[in-house]
């Protein structure tokens, strides 16, 4: 090849390269100016496409040189590099090398800046998984924030992703506010100057900041960005739920009165639009402050079947359906009853019997027949319309039937969507929590909680006051009983109260203010329904004299009640006298049958804890304890004759207590037996000290026999040596025991 030809080739190649570059430059010319700016230049064709589909940064100012450089440096091997980095990140995580993990993630996201899933996955990884590896809560908080900052950086690259913005809101709200160490996290978050920068201190609450981000995400969706597969009702519920959590957290932190009330008012406004709250209507400033924020209940939501619903409209629709049904029935007044009678005739005898049986007496089989009968008796509006004789009236009836069906259908859809976010519960809760009584009740709960460890007696009093106040709050809004009557704060308070009672060895007072709510919770429980069914079957079998069938039915009932008690531990502590009586009847009947069958009740008895509480708090138990206590004191002071007298009186008192319970039940609990064993042994020592024989027959002979049969030690338990306390706070020195004694 001659030099000239070579030169020509070079020139041609250069020209081709320049030409291609020019074409690329024109196609990919970056845009200038923000969207909406009249002077904005849209840029080249590729830029416009990117802009349209939100693929990457199209503005010059948005281009990230770091990301672009690293992508270029991989020379088209971006996928391979990303895989290697992903593996490296996993390895660093496994080896707990957090600095290198973060550095690798930084490189990774620069390779794939528009892969939203990577941001979300690794953001979660940092905030939830890496943070959990730290023992110190400050270290955990640091990594929670690292994850949040990571997501915030992702938003910079993916401005059209409401999911990333939503994630930030979720992490700030839920991770900080719901973690085990939420008290510490919330405190650190409030004090985090670097995170908040210019945010005023009163807004530095994680729930409020989380809400800000949820609102931003809502703004993106309003601007046209896609929610993709996220449920809109869940998406739009998060911001108001943050407000509810904020209001709740205020009271948990001990902030009450106006501030707490206003927080609940605001939530009411954001949840329902304030239409139903008795307080928010009187707070127009809230509505003004809300600006263009649309309450969840008033927001138009598209369902998966492409229907538009508003959660607030369910009652209106049901009301309209009910009115129309009344109008439909009025067209031919006797027709409805006539149809009902016709349908009743078609029912089977068992179905008719089930319908005639009182609901409380329904057994499992009859219940099923009743349900089937109710279904068969259901008269649909179009059925009614079809049977109208007059042609003109029939047309009117058909129109009404269509309207009723449509309204019922929409109400049903709304109902299902409401359940997703527990709409009615939160609506009721918002109303109750705004009342003076509820705020005061929560103040009492707060005091009770604070005193629980230091002074259980005082804590118990505070809790009781709180329950009374809450009762007053609920009584003011009887229509809300169904949805928010008890509410989570009361459930939490009750859990704590049960522990306090346990500490004090007491049970719920007989006039417990919320006893009927406990009762209603028991009634709503499916386990209780099954237990009652089994109990009814047992009674029938017992009446027929079939003891084995009765025992089986009672055992089923006991097992069902166990499930109920596990969910409602307050019932064990006699929170509801009616339920306690019901349980006691079951236990007594079961024990009586066991006795008749010559069987014993063992440690696996399902309601052992209930029986124990019953015995511990039966009539005469206190007196028996007092007598034994006096006897113990006398024995310790070597006043043996007096001790003997007191022991004998105490044992006799215990006899009376135990006699209140059926035989097999008296001696089934090892804890009770263990306590009585101590008393018997102390009495035995006393008698020995006096040089007298242990009386035969012994007053608690059945207890002694049960102890011996159970292999329980006949010696009184030696008091356990107290464990040296571990110093709190600054590490100190402990009298450490030797790792192994030298021989």
């Amino acid at each position: 090849m001659n030099p000239r030809r070579t030169l020509l080739h070079k020139v041609l190649y250069l020209a081709a390269m320049a030409g291609l570059l020019a074409v690329i430059a024109v196609l990919a010319l970056p845009s200038s100016g923000e969207p909406g700016n009249p002077n904005r230049r849209p840029g080249g064709y590729l830029t416009q496409l990117r802009d349209r589909y939100g693929l990457s940064e199209s503005l010059i100012g948005q281009l990230d040189p770091t990301s672009q450089t690293i992508r270029l440096a991989t020379l088209g091997m971006r996928g391979v590099a990303a895989n290697i980095l992903w593996e490296k990140a996993n390895d660093y995580k496994m080896k707990k090398d957090w600095s290198n993990l973060k550095a690798t993630l930084n490189q990774l996201i620069r390779l794939e800046p528009h892969f939203v899933t990577v941001w979300r996955h690794q953001g979660w990884n940092l905030s939830y998984n890496v943070s959990a590896e730290f023992d110190d809560y400050r270290g955990r908080y640091h990594w929670v924030i690292e994850g949040i900052r990571f997501l915030q950086e992702g938003i910079h690259y993916n401005e059209h992703s409401p999911h990333l913005v939503w994630d930030v809101g979720w992490f700030i709200g839920q991770k900080i506010g719901r973690a085990d160490e939420h008290k510490q996290f919330r405190r650190l978050f409030r004090e985090d100057e670097d995170f908040h920068q210019d945010r005023p201190p009163e807004y530095r609450d994680n729930w409020l900041v989380g809400k800000e981000w949820f609102r931003t995400a809502e703004g993106l969706v309003a601007r046209g960005d896609s929610l993709k597969n996220t449920s809109p009702v869940l998406f739009y519920s998060d911001a108001p739920m943050c407000q509810a959590n904020y209001a709740d957290a205020l009271e948990i932190d001990g902030v009450f009165q106006e501030k707490a009330k206003r927080a609940w008012q605001k939530f009411d406004y954001e949840w329902t639009g304030g239409r139903r709250g008795p307080y928010t209507e009187a707070a127009p400033d809230l509505q003004a402050a809300g600006g263009d924020i649309l309450a969840l209940g008033a927001r138009e939501i598209r369902t998966t079947t492409d229907e538009l619903i508003r959660l607030n409209e369910q009652e209106t629709l049901l009301h309209a359906a009910s009115d129309n049904l009344a109008r439909l029935k009025a067209i031919e007044p006797d027709l409805f009853q006539k149809l009902l009678n016709e349908k009743r005739k078609d029912l089977s005898p068992k179905e008719r019997k089930a319908l005639d049986t009182a609901p409380a007496d329904l057994t499992g089989e009859l219940f099923a027949f009743r349900r089937s009968a109710m279904g068969k008796l259901d008269i649909r509006p179009e059925e009614l319309a079809r049977r109208v004789k007059d042609d003109k009236k029939r047309d009117e009836a058909r129109t009404l039937a269509t309207q009723i069906n449509l309204a019922n259908h929409m109400a049903d859809v709304i109902g299902r969507y409401k359940q997703i976010v527990n709409f009615d519960y939160w609506r009721s809760r918002a109303i109750i929590e705004q009342s003076d009584e509820a705020v005061t009740a929560r103040e009492f709960f707060y005091k009770g909680e604070s005193l629980a460890k230091l002074d259980p007696q005082a804590a118990q009093e505070e809790f009781v006051k709180g329950f009374v106040k809450w009762r007053a709050a609920v009584d003011r809004f009887p229509q809300l009983k169904e949805n928010g009557g008890l509410g989570q704060p009361v459930i939490d308070a009750m859990e704590r109260y049960v522990k306090v009672l346990d500490q004090l060895d007491e049970v719920f007072p007989k006039d417990f203010a919320l006893a009927d709510y406990i009762r209603s919770q028991v009634d709503e429980n499916h386990g209780a329904f099954q237990a009652r069914g089994s109990m009814a079957e047992g009674r029938k079998a017992e009446a027929k004299g079939d003891l084995r069938a009765a025992r089986k039915a009672y055992e089923t009932a006991l097992s069902s009640w166990r499930g109920v008690l596990d969910k409602l531990p307050a019932v064990v502590m006699m929170a509801d006298p009616k339920t306690s009586a019901e349980l006691l009847e079951l236990v007594t009947r079961y024990a009586a049958i066991a006795e008749k069958l010559g069987e014993t009740v063992g440690q696996d008895f399902p309601l052992l804890d209930f029986v124990r509480v019953q015995i511990q708090h039966a009539d005469g138990t206190d007196k028996a304890r007092e007598l034994v206590f006096s006897a113990d004191r006398a024995r310790e002071e070597q006043r043996l004759p007096e001790a003997r007298k007191q022991y004998e009186a105490g044992l006799a008192a215990w006899r009376k207590v135990l006699d209140q319970f059926p035989k097999p039940i008296r001696t089934c609990d090892s804890k009770i037996l263990s306590r009585l064993n101590d008393v018997i042994e102390h009495y035995r020592f006393t008698m020995r000290g006096l040089g007298q024989k242990f009386p035969q027959p012994f007053v608690l002979q059945d207890v002694s026999d049960a102890i011996r049969a159970g292999g329980m030690s006949v010696r009184p338990r030696a008091p356990k040596p107290a464990r040296p306390p571990i110093p709190a706070g600054v590490p100190g020195k402990l009298p450490g025991g030797p790792p192994s004694p030298a021989k």
Binding site: T66, K96, N100, P731, K733, G737, P739, S740, A742
Partner: protein
């Protein structure tokens, strides 16, 4: 610092390593000789083959032993000139500068350990760049000379082929060394300047920290935020201030004046660029029944580097330190600990889990529990133990015998008997560490226990050590570059060796193959030994095709069985490869420098000898390969 493969002590290592090296090199030499003889036998018959072998041996001995340093120097000079002429070094250097110029885009100074990131970045960049440059230089040099017939001119002079190979290698090594020196110099300043920062602190940043005393008002607060962190500041009533450690460093604090008029001057960062000198012990465990065991409990972590001990039980992690002398730690024993915590219940989340540290004399069983401390994860916890302990200032003094269970179930106590009077101390009695807690041959034990039941401590051998006075960071940084230099030495060796008989591009692929093989040597060894999940290379191919993950058993089909059968010889080949190739990762000291640990003489010596042990046979092989070329005959 995690030390998954600790470097063996030189004295213990050299004996076995030397014999193994001789064996491998000898076998290779004999194999090569036999191969040469067989080829000659096949081509020229037995008598001539014998003569040729004898002649080759004689010539080779002369070529390898009678090397002239002057001629090698001249050839090395030629190689350097050639490198300069090709401007490869200049391009490499410019590339390095360019990378450093934009490195701040990729390095996050807000990281909790910025020094680690910076150090890793510069050492890795330098390493990759130098290795790549030297690879290109070494593999293309000889083939180009042969093609351009430059080498023919050289061999007309009285030069031996061994000198040609060695001169070329030496020239490139010198060039690379020069480049590394420049890179190291620039990197050092890049790291130091990159980490440099100052925090502002004003009187308004400090708030009262308790009631005022006659001396003044104690204060506490935080500095301004720089590089994503703030430091807690404490000023006592007397006006003495201290700045707490954050992001693995702290700052000095100078206070002029008092009250609102006080002026606070925060000094430059300290403690991030260090070279700790650890005095390690060997780790053993004691189980929750009090018996000695090699390992603690697994808490289910995927990474099994650390073993765990159960809290509130006799379980302990025991480090045995040997060779202690009073002049090593005269007044105090500075203990550095990096303990992991595993909680099985929440416990008190406001503070760490409590643990205890004790010292025990292995001969007498005297056990002194020094103190109860609060755990701190992912950070070095420092405890200073005075060499003269006072009874009332320690937590407990007892006699503890270690219990060793034999294979037959018998239990041996160590020591077999103890003197009970040793533990009977009055409150003011002193316990001399060196006299009472160290054996005559300089051994002592450090016992770590977790105090809280239901919680666990995790520990590995390198997690607890006595910290001798720090070494020079600058010198440690230089040692880090020596590691890169050793890697470069091997790459040049392989590059020149392959280029003696392969064309440039093929030699490059072969050298890259050797480099990658060396980098993934531990992985190859695991595949060869069957430790790696997923089987050998052929089974892996089947899994790839079937998209089956590594842990699922393959169906015993014909294809699978054939693949597994092929894997048997493949594994042998991989084992042989992994034994012959140097483990490149071992020569990198980046982790030591980045984590702030001194690279000790032992490590340097072992690694230098390992590099030399690979370099020498590679050079000899290069010589023989060149001898097969017409130009060198």
């Amino acid at each position: 610092m995690t030390l998954e493969n600790p470097v063996p002590a030189f004295a213990e290592w050299i004996g076995g390593a030397w014999h193994q090296w001789l064996l491998v090199v000898g076998c290779l030499a004999v194999a090569a000789l036999l191969l040469g003889f067989l080829v000659a036998l096949f081509r020229h018959g037995p008598r001539r083959a014998l003569r040729m072998t004898e002649r080759t041996l004689g010539e080779s001995a002369a070529d390898l032993l009678l090397i002239s340093p002057r001629r090698i120097g001249a050839l090395a000079y030629l190689a350097i000139k050639e490198s300069i002429r090709h401007r490869v070094i200049l391009v490499g250097f410019l590339l390095f500068v360019l990378i450093l110029l934009f490195a701040s885009w990729f390095l996050d100074p807000n990281s909790t350990e910025p020094a680690r990131l910076y150090m890793n970045a510069v050492l890795t960049t330098s390493s990759y760049l130098v290795l790549l440059l030297m690879l290109f230089l070494s593999v293309f040099s000889l083939p180009n000379d042969i093609r351009a017939r430059t080498l023919h001119t050289v061999v007309t002079k009285p030069v031996r082929p061994s000198e040609v190979v060695l001169g070329r290698m030496l020239g490139f090594i010198l060039m690379g060394s020069g480049l590394l020196v420049v890179m190291g110099f620039i990197s050092y300043f890049f790291v130091v300047r990159g980490l440099e920062h100052k925090h502002a602190l004003t009187a308004a940043d400090l708030k009262p920290a308790g009631p005022a005393t006659a001396d003044g008002q104690p204060l506490k607060g935080t500095t301004s935020s720089v590089y994503g962190h703030r430091h807690a500041v404490y000023v006592d009533a007397k006006g003495q201030g201290r700045i707490e450690t954050e992001h693995r460093h702290w700052h000095g604090l100078k206070i002029d004046g008092s009250g609102e008029k006080a002026v606070y001057a925060v000094g430059p960062e300290e403690g991030s660029l260090v070279a700790r000198v650890p005095f390690y012990g060997t780790l053993a465990f004691r189980d929750n029944k009090g018996f000695d065991t090699d390992k603690g409990i697994s808490v289910g972590h995927e990474w099994t580097y650390r073993s765990y001990i159960e809290g509130g039980s006799p379980a302990a992690a025991i480090w045995t330190l040997s060779g202690l002398r009073p002049e090593m730690f005269e007044k105090k024993l500075p203990v550095d600990m990096n303990i992991e915590v595993f909680r099985t219940h929440k416990g008190n989340i406001e503070r760490g889990v409590l643990g205890s540290l004790a010292i025990r004399n292995p001969d007498t069983g005297l056990y002194v529990e020094i103190e109860i401390f609060e755990s701190k994860e992912f950070a070095i916890k420092q405890l200073d133990i005075p060499t003269t302990l006072v009874r009332k200032k320690v937590t407990g003094v007892q006699l503890v015998q270690r219990k060793i269970k034999g294979a037959d179930g018998s239990i041996t106590l160590s020591p077999a008997t103890v003197d009970a009077s040793l533990a009977q101390r009055k409150e003011d009695d002193e316990i001399d560490f060196y006299k009472e807690l160290v054996t005559k041959d300089g051994k002592t034990e450090l016992w770590l226990r977790c105090v809280e039941p239901g919680q666990y401590f995790g520990a590995a051998q390198a997690d607890l050590y006595l910290r001798a006075p720090d070494a020079s960071f600058t010198l440690n940084f230089v040692k880090g570059y020596v590691g890169i230099w050793l890697q470069m030495l091997l790459v040049i060796g392989f590059g020149v060796m392959f280029s003696t008989f392969l064309s440039g591009p093929v030699a490059m692929i072969a050298t890259i193959g050797a480099l990658l093989g060396g980098m993934f040597n531990p992985f190859m060894a695991k595949v060869a030994s069957g430790e790696q999940l997923g089987g050998g290379p052929f089974e892996a191919m089947v899994r790839l095709g079937e998209q089956t993950n590594l842990v699922v058993d393959l169906q015993p089909t014909l294809g699978t069985n054939v693949a597994k059968a092929f894997d048997v010889p493949a594994r042998y080949a991989m084992k042989a490869m992994s034994s012959m190739l140097p483990t490149f990762g071992d020569f990198s000291y980046a982790e030591f420098v980045a984590d702030g640990y001194n690279i000790d003489v032992n490590t340097m010596l072992v690694r230098c000898l390992q590099a030399l042990a690979f370099f020498l046979p590679v050079f000899v092989a290069g010589y023989f390969f060149l001898k097969t070329r017409e130009v060198a005959r």
